[in-house]
């Protein structure tokens, strides 16, 4: 699954069309504790979080994630989006809840993160 397919699957708005929509998504994850994500994130991950500040993009970028998904119609602030565009991280905004997004991704066959990593 790539970022474009992921966007369509959850009917999200791609806030960073500058990021490569062909980037491969390898796994899904949801967590709002950034410290936790730093310890458990993975490359290629699609990460669902309600956090919208700049550090979210820093974490996603350092971990080489494919996309950050913001649920429940929450709007990410412009400085964070700008940083995401600079870093080439896709930010997808969805009206669905984190639970619904994860359920759709799992049903589509996207695995959770590899625990061996």
């Amino acid at each position: 699954m790539n970022v474009q397919q992921l966007t369509e699957l959850i009917n999200a708005r791609n806030m960073t069309p500058e990021a490569d929509a062909n980037t491969e998504v390898t796994c899904g994850y949801t967590c709002d504790l950034l410290s936790w994500v730093m310890a458990h994130g993975a490359a290629g991950m699609a990460w669902v979080t309600v956090q919208t500040h700049m550090n979210v993009i820093a974490v996603a970028s350092l971990m080489e994630m494919a996309a950050v998904i913001i649920p429940e119609g929450i709007v990410m602030e412009e400085p964070s989006l700008e940083k995401a565009r600079d870093e080439g991280i896709a930010v997808l905004q969805s009206d669905l809840t984190a639970y619904e997004i994860c359920a759709i991704l799992a049903k589509a066959g996207l695995p959770g993160k590899n625990r061996e990593e």
Partner: protein, 141 residues
């Protein structure tokens, strides 16, 4: 060992909005040097954790990157306040992060253990009233 590269980055206490800038620059620099993705990932995670610790806990400090043919070394040196109980600070889940840091999603008590997990070698020295120095190296081979 011949040093191929040495760069220092000042990190300001409490500067949450710019936290991660030094780590991003360091990652970019190492990428340009052709460091493998695997090593890059370990350095990036540990680097961001230590940079955040400077922002959240220290009175300000410096992050230094050293590269030699065998390893990448990161040295974080701050000017205080120092850690009274290092063993406790190294315990997963223990955190003294303030409310502001916690609101942003930090302060899970994962920082130091996560650095240790990602580095090949990890050393922490601290003296209350003086400061903390963390030295991490990452083998290139």
């Amino acid at each position: 060992m011949a040093i191929l590269l040495e760069k220092s980055f000042p990190v300001e206490a409490g500067a949450y909005s710019t936290a991660g800038e030094a780590s991003t620059t360091i990652k970019r620099t190492l990428k340009q040097l052709g460091i493998s993705t695997e090593v890059l990932r370990h350095v990036s995670v540990a680097c961001y954790e230590v940079e955040l610790n400077l922002v959240i806990h220290s009175l300000g400090g410096t992050l230094t990157l050293l590269v030699d043919p065998e390893k990448v070394t990161l040295i974080s040196k701050d000017v205080g306040p120092g850690i009274p109980d290092i063993e406790k600070a190294m315990t997963e889940g223990f955190s003294t992060a303030n409310e502001e840091a916690r609101t942003l999603g930090f302060g899970a008590g994962m920082g130091l253990p996560n650095m240790k997990r990602n580095a090949t070698e990890f050393d922490i020295q601290s003296e209350v009233g003086v400061g903390t120095t963390i030295t991490m190296s990452f083998a290139l081979a």
